[in-house]
Symmetry: C3
Subunit: 195 residues, 3 copies
């Protein structure tokens, strides 16, 4: 059985690889993906797109399960001892996405995450004499997270939701909702001409 499974899995991986090449993914993304893949448990086809530094994976004794997905350059994954990061299939992490896992972060299938977004399930630091708090983050399927978002501990983002650029998310987002941080307001209005 193991032999059969391996064979079909290799054939399936090969088929997907050919599809991606036809879509215009550069061959270097597969080679870089192989270098990244060794950090993951049971990974499928990993694309690590060129254009900057290879993603950094710092695993201090947790587990990282990644299905077939795509990483742009500069992504950073940090997983602490005993913690668990799961990334579903078809997920896309844009440049410099940074995920810090103290306990558990789960990202559902087909979710897309914009550049410079930070996802942390831990405060990393206690305060007022209390220890640092970690609470799992769950991002469901088909979520789209804009660039520069910050997703903090204990948040669940429902399937199909959209998180606007620069949003700081500290509470749950219902499925299909669109959330954003409060926008800029006028602080000062001038009447004199600028010279």
């Amino acid at each position: 059985m193991a032999g059969l499974d391996d064979g079909s899995s290799v054939r399936f991986g090969l088929r997907r690889l050919l599809e991606r090449l036809r879509e215009g993914v550069p061959p270097s993304a597969f080679v870089r993906g192989l270098r990244l893949r060794r950090h993951f448990r049971g990974a499928g086809l990993i694309l690590a797109l060129p254009g900057g530094p290879l993603p950094t994976v710092i695993n201090k004794g947790g587990t990282i399960d990644v299905e077939s997905c795509s990483f742009e350059s500069g992504v950073r994954l940090e997983v602490m001892s005993g913690a668990k990061l799961s990334i579903g299939k078809g997920v896309y992490l844009n440049r410099n996405v940074h995920i810090v896992v103290g306990e558990a972060v789960t990202i559902g299938d087909m979710t897309k995450i914009g550049w410079d977004t930070v996802i942390m399930d831990t405060d990393l630091h206690g305060h007022s004499g209390r220890p640092a708090v970690s609470r799992p983050v769950i991002i469901e399927d088909n979520v789209w997270i804009g660039c520069r978002a910050v997703i903090l501990k204990g948040v669940r983002i429902g399937r199909g939701a959209v998180v606007g650029a620069g949003a700081i998310v500290t509470s749950d987002v219902p499925p299909l909702a669109v959330v954003g941080s409060p926008r800029a307001q006028i602080l000062f209005k001038a009447s004199s001409p600028v010279d």
Copy 2:
């Protein structure tokens, strides 16, 4: 006429180049600028300052018009098919400014944009069954945009306005106004001493 024009334009460019060198701009900025200039239509004197990676220009079939202006390292310009980016003269883009153009982004003369600022005229991604929306962004003359700002689709920023550090701008800013995102508030107040 073409010959005369070329001659006077070269003389004018040379005069400006000598002025900038006297101001202390490093000669490497001119050499780097020549490498950047080939991405632009009708560019004047382009300074691409040293200190990090040369700006990245990803033009997927749009047009980029840039007059004489200065780019710090790490700037990133992405222009989609049929889209148009126009940058006026004397504009200064600080480190890692990132501009994404789905339809049209216009930046007026002498505008200065702080480091890590993102300007996007497109959502890049639809939601709730609707397609992605693009609406032109217009930043007029003499605007100053602080570091880490995010300027989103459909926004017009009037001449001489100031956008504060970290502001997320989703609606128009009148000329000469100063805008900023809501600032940090106290979430928790402790009375016990920290040991």
Copy 3:
């Protein structure tokens, strides 16, 4: 006396160096620290951790006093003519912390600053005909500043306070308080299914 002082200071530095090595700090951090140290007045033991570019120090004629502390890669310190930056002992600056000093920035002992945080005591640019304004920033002892925060001119952050990830701080923070920027809100709620 000078001879005695030097001797005891060297012995003390050596003891600390051995302690840090036992804690697992890589030896390269000490070597990189020596390269960084020459920018500082009266620096103690400086650790410049590996993993990215050495911190950038741009001193245009001010003074930088740093006691024994740790810098991650990509930190950027800019000090203008006549300005003063003071960093206390045991301070930790994470990746890409960026400090711009137009007049005076003081950081107390044992304060920890998260990645991508910006601290500026100056607007760098005037508006509406007024010149740029600088007002000193004081961050007291044992403060913890989360990632991506922006600390602006004239702010004093009291001892033991915590600044949340992504917070934009424009007014004083009392000792031991926790502050954060307003969080994302629902902009749009869909009821139709996502296909």
